[in-house]
Symmetry: C2
Subunit: 335 residues, 2 copies
């Protein structure tokens, strides 16, 4: 018998999730059945959607989320011991999954793409759910053309930092907004964003007049809130907005959403297209994106940064830190 | 020489347009040149976009807008005297236009479609710009399927009343919001909306729980504002929103837009597609829509109401009344 630990959400979050909204549960895993594999977690992912989806599940529920792990025992001939896999089993140190029954995001299991010796951490970032979120969210919804101006908010976050780099690969001019001067430096000096600004200190409206004198063609919106209304007022006719998230609102009561300047005026006058997405929409096409993403990663065209927290007991802290914007790049926890 | 009169906008509107923002100018029309026709106005249209586009033009400018008129003199062999035409020459009683140079909405001239004896007023409503706005705005952007639930705001307005009826023709369930009990009665009892509500007295949220228990699939947004945020919170996954206007905000300073609950949360979580449009986007396809619209009109499937004001001097009053929601159906002025 293998002893495992997992985080269980005991009650729905009110505002910022509290430590005692979670309980760490120890339990014994059963023996493997045919088709199943035992996965020892190496890396756990903390992501904004873990906050946002909280009320979709009746409590108590096992905290979901992506992890990279190693097959430690197997009753599945396609998954030998030592194989690295990605699953959505959440904040746990051991788990049993069945790759034969993997069809939706909630029970997904797949072999980590071949990263040619790069750290398996990329299975949670550039060549994982975060990578495909940036890839499809930008390319499918915004359909950016070379020479166009792309704006990204939450630009130093896991998704945002990849969006900006993919837009550069596609020949766009890229402007990012992030929450600290260090992040701004990283975006401009390491990732090659054309311009980056600290949204906490910049006058967004004046900044965009200078940074995007010909207007904004594509906007990848990670945050919602006031800044999005201002950016949309700078968009060109037939601009496209990909709405990936609204992290500015996740800690609020959904029935009490923040009030922001009305968007419809600009949406009509400029014939904007604003579309939200959840990345499991393209689940059957993730592997297609992984081909491009791992190629760009190995070519050095995609640079990543991981904000690493160590220790199973520290997952909660990593999660809260990520929600508060402490991470630059992908927030992960080493188990 | 023909003496003509026209409304000139002398200064940009602040809030509700004032009577003395306009000046009525009398002038002499020149002789016709080859290709030109002299049009005597019969009906003039007043529309929300005449308010919304105000700041796009340097003042003074001739007030634009659609009119139906009769060719009174001609130097164009394709347009004989007595032909009824539609132009965008605005608030004037006589005008000279050249159908050979008609290619954009600003200089558009076309023969009124054959209405089989129905009033030429339909050239400004169901078989005019308003009709194609409803037709393409609903069908191209929302792509409603039979059995889906469609919500329309400004439902008793010129565009909204047609949107609801087209949605019914397409087999949808239709819910309308309008600003008086009389309008609500007209929508339910004459136009065949499944449900209609007075947004000034109804609790929108509770109303939609009852009227759309299975959620909203398509929303045709004429008004923007708080009501739109609430309707979008009732939408189903992959819902489509066609943003035709934001009349609630046209009288406000664009830099001081009203604040409404943030839309991004619902847009992301439900993967909504929100698209604004201006109807000249489909200018080359208007005649295609006129075929369906005039067929439906003659079959009695499209019922219309015209809010008629009489007299060239009263165009301003008709315009202000329309902006204030006094009209049920299309607001027009008989010259």
């Amino acid at each position: 018998m293998v002893k495992a630990r997992k985080y269980v959400v005991k009650r729905h979050f009110e505002g910022v999730p509290k430590r005692d909204d979670f309980e760490i549960v120890e339990f014994e895993l059963p023996s493997l059945r045919n088709g199943e594999i035992l996965v020892k977690t190496e890396w756990v992912s903390v992501d904004p959607y873990q906050r946002a989806y909280n009320r979709r599940y009746p409590t108590p529920y096992d905290q979901f989320g992506f992890l990279v792990g190693v097959v430690e025992d197997t009753k599945n001939p396609k998954y030998s011991v030592g194989t690295r896999v990605v699953t959505h089993k959440g904040w746990c140190d051991y788990s049993i999954v069945n790759p034969n029954e993997s069809s939706t995001m909630s029970n997904i299991v797949y072999k980590l793409p071949d990263l040619k010796g790069q750290s398996p951490i990329h299975g949670l970032s550039s060549v994982g759910m975060v990578g495909v979120t940036a890839y499809f969210g930008l390319l499918e919804i915004c359909q950016p053309k070379a020479g166009e101006t792309v704006v990204v908010t939450g630009a130093a976050g896991a998704v945002g930092s990849l969006v900006g780099q993919i837009a550069k690969i596609k020949g766009c001019r890229v402007i990012g907004f992030a929450g600290s001067d260090d992040k701004v430096n990283w975006l401009q000096n390491t990732l090659g964003f054309d311009k980056a600004y600290n949204y906490k200190t910049a006058n967004i409206n004046e900044t965009l007049k200078i940074a995007a004198p010909n207007g904004v063609d594509c906007y990848f919106d990670n945050v919602g809130g006031e800044i999005s209304s201002i950016i949309m007022s700078h968009m060109n006719n037939f601009g496209r907005v990909s709405v990936c998230g609204s992290i500015s609102a996740y800690n609020d009561d959904v029935s009490q959403l923040p009030r922001v300047p009305l968007l419809q005026f600009d949406i009509t006058m400029k014939q904007l297209k604003v579309e939200g997405f959840l990345v499991h929409r393209w689940l059957t096409r993730w592997s297609e994106a992984f081909v491009d993403l791992s190629k760009w990663l190995l070519e050095g065209k995609l640079k990543t940064n991981e904000h690493i927290t160590e220790g199973f007991d520290k997952i909660y802290d990593a999660f809260i830190g990520m929600l508060a914007g402490e991470n630059t790049g992908k927030a992960v926890v080493k188990i």
